[in-house]
């Protein structure tokens, strides 16, 4: 990955976050899905813990196989999400980095990133014998509507009372407004960093974005998160201004759709560098930047704003909007093609991919390739098969003019 001075700051931030979560005596712990409205938790001094983030760490550290095998031995099918299997296994064996996650006091699950997380969180609720709050965010078949926003707002109000009852003190709305504004500020910096990728050569590539994603997922709503992305933004902006690319020579610029392949980060990084191909932009990392599209102002109802931003994530969109968005990114970032990761673990992200590929190619005139892989399970991945497809795809692209 590209070297950034801010990286050490991020490591410090993430280490402190995990240390606090593992050692705290006062603050409650809530396990939460990656796209859930975490701001409600920060407003009440609850520490959010992200099993998805932790599962990715396990895979990046090449520890996911043994954990998944433990879960499979306990009866979980190999067809369910590898993140879920990794986390079940980590909890069963106390394995994984830092010896597992601190146990939850309650669970918060939102369906905007995946409808099947409900089942995952129901298992957790049974295993830990803790309450589960589900924020049901309907799928946006035809875009955002007032009804969908209203429906989601009612659940936020219910979440407030749930938190108030659970903690035995009233929910702090003033604090929520402050947290929300910090969350939006961080998302805004994140988005600005990602959009600096429009510079040719791109100063910050998608593999970099996967590495630097930790704080925006786990700590958005805190001051530290804003400070970190401001620092990183300044560094990336300087590189953009000086036209320093993230790889030594950039002949091809492509989009990456779907999650990273966490256990192949280094190998793929070398592969793309050798092929002079930059992964410029991803729908995945962009999702957290998209939260900044809904900035709080005095006029807006923070709850409606919340609902709109958490409903309006890429993976919760219908096909027409996905096609439009992908094509727009390809144009805006001056891309030469696109890669779609058909992710065995993530069905909601991968369904309909062949149709998407065809439509986006037709609209943009750019070639696309689909590779079969998994975000966390190295047992369903083949280097030779994936690299042959990627190489052939790169050969078929017209280089940047």
């Amino acid at each position: 990955m590209t070297e950034f001075k801010a990286f050490s700051k991020m490591k410090e931030l993430m280490t402190n976050y995990y240390i606090e979560a593992k050692t705290t005596k006062e603050k409650p712990i809530a396990w939460i899905t990656s796209g859930a409205p975490v701001e409600f938790l920060f407003a009440m001094d609850i520490i959010p813990i992200y099993p998805e983030n932790y599962a990715a760490m396990c895979a990046a550290n090449h520890q996911s196989i043994e954990l998944m095998e433990a879960a499979e031995a306990a009866g979980f099918s190999q067809d369910i999400c590898a993140y879920a299997r990794t986390d079940f296994g980590a909890a069963m064996t106390q394995g994984g980095p830092a010896g597992g996650l601190p146990p939850p006091h309650f669970l918060l699950c939102s369906t905007n990133i995946c409808k099947t997380v409900i089942k995952w969180y129901e298992v957790l609720a049974r295993n830990y014998n803790v309450p589960l709050f589900i924020v049901d965010t309907p799928f946006l078949h035809n875009g955002l509507t007032k009804d969908l926003i209203d429906y989601t707002v009612t659940q936020f109000i219910a979440l407030e009372s749930f938190l108030g009852n659970f903690l035995g003190r009233p929910f702090d709305r003033d604090r929520l407004t402050k947290v929300l504004s910090l969350s939006r500020e961080a998302a805004d910096y994140w988005k600005k960093i990602l959009y600096l990728g429009k510079t040719i050569p791109s100063p910050f590539n998608s593999l970099d974005s996967f590495i630097h994603l930790g704080p925006i997922v786990t700590l958005r709503g805190t001051r530290e998160c804003v400070d970190y992305y401001k620092l990183l933004y300044e560094e990336v902006a300087e590189r953009a201004q000086k036209k320093i690319g993230s790889i030594s020579e950039e002949r091809y610029r492509v989009l990456w759709d779907n999650l990273p392949i966490w256990f192949k980060m280094r190998r793929l990084e070398r592969f793309f560098e050798e092929k002079k191909c930059t992964l410029v932009v991803t729908t995945y990392a962009n999702s957290w930047g998209g939260l900044s599209n809904f900035q709080a102002n005095e006029m807006s109802d923070p709850y409606e704003l919340f609902a709109a931003s958490y409903l309006n994530v890429y993976i919760n969109w219908g096909f027409e909007n996905r096609i439009k968005y992908l094509s727009q990114l390809i144009d805006d970032f001056s891309l030469t093609g696109f890669i779609m990761h058909s992710n065995r673990s993530c069905k909601p992200y991968s369904v309909g991919m062949y149709c998407l590929q065809g439509e986006v190619s037709k609209l943009t005139g750019k070639p696309g390739v689909i590779i079969e892989a998994d975000q966390n399970d190295p047992r369903v991945y083949s280097d030779a098969q994936v690299e042959t497809r990627l190489e052939a795809f790169i050969e078929s692209m017209e280089p940047v003019s």
Binding site: Y354, S361, S382, Q385, T388, E391, A392, E395, S396
Partner: protein, 260 residues
Amino acid sequence: MSYYAGIDVGSLTAEAVLIDKDRNIAAYAILPTGNNSQKAGTDAFRTALGQAGLAEADVSRVFSTGYSRARVLQAEDSKTEIACHAKGAFYFFPHVGTIIDIGGQDSKAILVGKEGRVINFAMNDKCAAGTGRFLEVMAGALDVPLDKMDDLALGSKEELTISSTCTVFAESEVVSLISQGKAPADICLAVSRAIARRTAGLVTRVGVADSLVMTGGVAKNRAVVKILSKDVGHLIKVPKEPQIIGALGAALFAREENGR
């Protein structure tokens, strides 16, 4: 005189093709890859050289392709088999639009434009069903030589179905058909149909051009080619030696491109 070589080391076989500066094929060799892909590449290359009565020094540039392309010692550079099959097929059939290549563990459909340049391609997913290896396993289960399967299939009298395209499941279907006393000829045809059906899906995905060419080892199976032609609604042409098309493409690239 200067010659160019292409070496294609795939999962099941290794091929080498030598061409002269005017693009005429001087010699070629096809050998099993075995358990040492590097040696397989070298052996194929030397066999072809021996046939042409040439020495390594007569060859000005070698390009490699296939799964073990990065391990071919003699190669100055490598190209993917997609680009090479397109190039090689274009050599024999300048009007080719869609190429179907079924090798040892991959099947692909390639849409080509001018000069054999790849416009789009589709490959089998992770699973190697419907590839050369699939055919090999079924030949093994039937105890029929691989190169006799098509003769048998074309003489089939009864229509049987193998519904699974998974190699493991299809093999057990074959075994149960054998145990029901079905004729090997009829089972061979059912196997060919299973491959054709799966491949037709790939072809439809990239687009069926007017002129279709099939390359790779499975193109030697006339039953598969015949059924596939019917499925896609176009006659599929097959070069005289479909297995060397990848290596030929690599040799043509070696001749065209300046070494690094």
